[in-house]
């Protein structure tokens, strides 16, 4: 796992973006950028250079699930690992996210250990 990879954090609540950013920094990932919903995340993704996407689900404008579907449908972005960090925990929603091709799913509130575990798992699979 490349600790210099560029990570895009998408959440409409700035407090949550800061929490995730700080947790990632603790894990050694310092190269992060932020967006507050899918609509603002897209231009950043399209500009290129993002290696890993961490996104909330419920956001005004474009929601996280639509952002994920967009990423999977775009040839240039389709292989990007996507981790969802959301308060949504209905069975059908988790299945929808899985079907849309999410790589990891974390429910809020979460712990630093959970975030580390999911990121490790995602990159173990990609690297193997």
């Amino acid at each position: 796992m490349n600790k210099d990879m560029k990570i895009l954090i998408v959440d409409d609540f700035s407090t949550m973006r800061r929490i995730i950013k700080n947790l990632l920094r603790d894990l050694g990932f310092t190269n992060t950028v932020e967006a507050d919903d899918g609509t603002t995340a897209l231009p950043i993704l399209n500009a290129g250079g993002i290696d890993f996407l961490v996104t909330d689900w419920n956001m005004p404008g474009m929601q996280g699930i639509d952002l994920l579907k967009h990423v999977r449908a775009d040839d240039k972005l389709s292989s990007m690992p996507v981790l969802m960090v959301t308060a949504e925990q209905k069975r059908e929603q988790i299945i929808e996210a899985a079907q849309a091709g999410v790589n990891g799913y974390i429910v809020k509130p979460f712990t630093a250990a959970t975030l580390k575990e999911k990121i490790d798992k995602i990159f173990e699979r990609i690297d193997s």
């Binding site: 959440d11 609540f13 407090t15 949550m16 929490i19 700080n22 603790d26 689900w57 419920n58 929601q63 308060a87 949504e88 925990q89 209905k90 069975r91 059908e92 929603q93 988790i94 299945i95 899985a98 799913y105 974390i106 429910v107 809020k108 509130p109 979460f110 712990t111 630093a112 959970t114």
Partner: protein, 271 residues
């Protein structure tokens, strides 16, 4: 309805007769026609009143069948809102408690580091001034080792307290989502009440409505837009996201209990 009277031909005819009779001093006739005119006015008033009553009745009937209102009542929308707001209080209380506990645990660690460094600084000062004997320096060296070990542990513990404080701030996101839901409910109720006023306002001066709308946070165009798309809104409402789990408001069959259950579901799906 200008004072509930219909000025028609019959009325004008009788009014003219009233004037003619009054001019020629026919008191009995005048009294008779006056009574008749008053009755005409009252009949017209009662007719208007009957119409108003029927309109209000129809409006309430329509209101009862408005699905959002019945949903509000059936799903206990107001009770839900209260439950959600109570949970917001609980969550903010918990976050504040956690933060205070972590700070109270962190302060003694900072104090211990401060006291240790102050003592060592003065000893170090004596050492650099060559005021320290060999035996005292051996003692300082031991003290220094003990301090460095404890400071190392203390700063690790401090880091963990700071992390706990940071994580507890996630309440802002979760309570924010819950409050957004309550705001949406209040807006829906406001919209429905305004629609009720509009429906029953055929008898109210029309310019009262824009005033009411101006006082509400909803503007007229939003209202019209919402009204025209209320069908699709209702559908959207049903499939809308649940947001954070509020105890007491969970559909237990459909909602997973936490990260472990989410992990189990995902692994059953081949993740």
């Amino acid at each position: 309805m200008s004072e509930g009277i219909v000025i028609d031909e019959a009325f004008i005819k009788r009014a003219k007769e009233l004037v003619a009779n009054a001019e020629s001093g026919k008191d009995e006739e005048v009294k008779l026609i006056l009574d008749e005119l008053v009755t005409m006015k009252e009949t017209s008033l009662f007719r208007e009143l009957g119409k108003l009553t029927r309109d209000v009745h129809e409006t309430f009937k329509a209101f009862r069948t408005d699905s959002r209102i019945t949903e509000l009542a059936d799903d206990g929308g107001m009770a839900d809102a209260k439950e959600r707001l109570h949970y917001v209080i609980t969550m903010t209380q918990q976050a504040a408690d956690t933060t205070m506990e972590q700070i109270e645990s962190a302060i003694p660690l900072c104090e211990s580091i401060t006291v240790g460094t102050s003592e060592l600084l003065s000893s170090w000062e004596r050492f650099t001034q060559k005021e320290m004997g060999v035996e005292e320096f051996r003692q300082l060296s031991k003290t220094l080792k003990v301090f460095l070990e404890s400071a190392n542990n203390d700063s690790k513990a401090l880091m963990s307290h700071l992390n706990e404080i940071m994580m507890s701030q996630s309440y802002q996101d979760l309570t924010g989502q819950i409050i957004y839901k309550v705001i949406k409910l209040v807006e829906d109720i406001e919209e429905d009440l305004i629609n009720l006023i509009k429906l029953s306002s055929k008898h109210i001066e029309q310019d009262v409505i824009p005033d009411l709308l101006a006082e509400s946070s909803l503007d007229k165009s939003t209202l019209e837009k919402k009204k025209s798309s209320s069908e699709t809104d209702n559908k959207k409402h049903k499939s809308s996201l649940d947001g954070p789990v509020v105890p007491g408001l969970i559909d237990e069959a459909e909602t997973l209990a936490g990260q472990d259950e989410v992990d189990d579901l995902l692994s059953s799906l081949g993740f």
